[in-house]
């Protein structure tokens, strides 16, 4: 059962990501991204990363996606502008991407992964994340606040009308 659900989610992510990339209408792309984000959250759950899954929903679905929708809605003269996207040089791109994909898959399959063997027992990861976040990774947590501060100030400055 779990296996089936996993592959269903996998298909959801793959298909919706393709819609994001190939849809002619930017608005469809954005809404398809919703499915991608939710699907990725599902994959996180299968990876035993429950906190990440919730974070994915809260930040990406709840925040970033809204911002993207606004980004489109805010576009100047949206009535006149052609809200489409297209890709140039599809054949060349396909060849390059295909080659990279092939190399990646072959290398990844031929490699033994030391961490892959440990099948984790289910336990909520929030506890561990909390302990690490306020233990070894404390400084990164604090640095993140400065990064957020800078991003906030910069974004507010650029988005403001006044010079």
């Amino acid at each position: 059962m779990g296996e089936v659900i996993f592959w269903v989610i996998w298909a959801l992510v793959a298909v919706s990501a393709m819609v994001v990339a190939f849809s002619k209408n930017l608005v469809y792309s954005v809404f398809s991204l919703l499915a991608t984000f939710i699907g990725v959250a599902g994959i996180y759950i299968f990876l035993n990363a429950d906190f990440l899954a919730v974070t994915q929903i809260v930040i990406y679905v709840g925040g970033i996606l809204v911002l993207l929708v606004f980004g489109i809605m805010l576009t100047n003269r949206i009535v006149v502008a052609k809200i489409t996207q297209s890709s140039l040089q599809r054949t060349t791109g396909l060849v390059v991407v295909g080659a990279i994909f092939l190399v990646l898959v072959l290398t990844l399959l031929n490699q033994t992964w030391p961490l892959a063997t440990s099948a984790a027992e289910f336990d909520s990861t929030v506890n561990n994340i909390g302990e690490l976040l306020f233990g070894d990774y404390l400084i990164l947590f604090e640095v993140a606040s400065v990064l957020l501060l800078g991003a906030l100030i910069g974004a507010a400055t650029l988005a403001r009308k006044e010079l």
Binding site: V58, I59, L74, N127, L133, V146, A156, K161
Partner: protein, 140 residues
Amino acid sequence: MHEHYGVVLAFGILGFILMYVAFILQKLIGPKNSSELKLDTYECGEPTEGSSWVQFNIRFYVIALIFIVFDVEVVFLFPWAVVFKDMGFVTFIEVFVFLAILVVGLAYVWAKGDLEWVKMKLKYGTGRYAATRLHESESP
């Protein structure tokens, strides 16, 4: 562990199904006398005017940006809430520093008027939009 999330999935699927049940039900039992008029976009009973693609106020964007920053902040607080009891008062100070730095950001956007929906009086309106000041203060 993912079995525990089966409930969430079940909820999602159920919600999806219920939505389509409503669609299918109305298709099955609803009367079918379609006319051209019924395909019109509904706008308070008035004939629609212009495109529904209108440009949003830029202020939505600023608010959304501010929201995301504090959204991320809140996510960081969940693990803290879980481990606070075990790890003690030090983590309180650590989170306090984190929040204090972000509160500076809040103070910044507040003082600069980015949180005000209608700017009645621009504090620093000397740029390219200075001429639109009057207009902006009238319309929401």
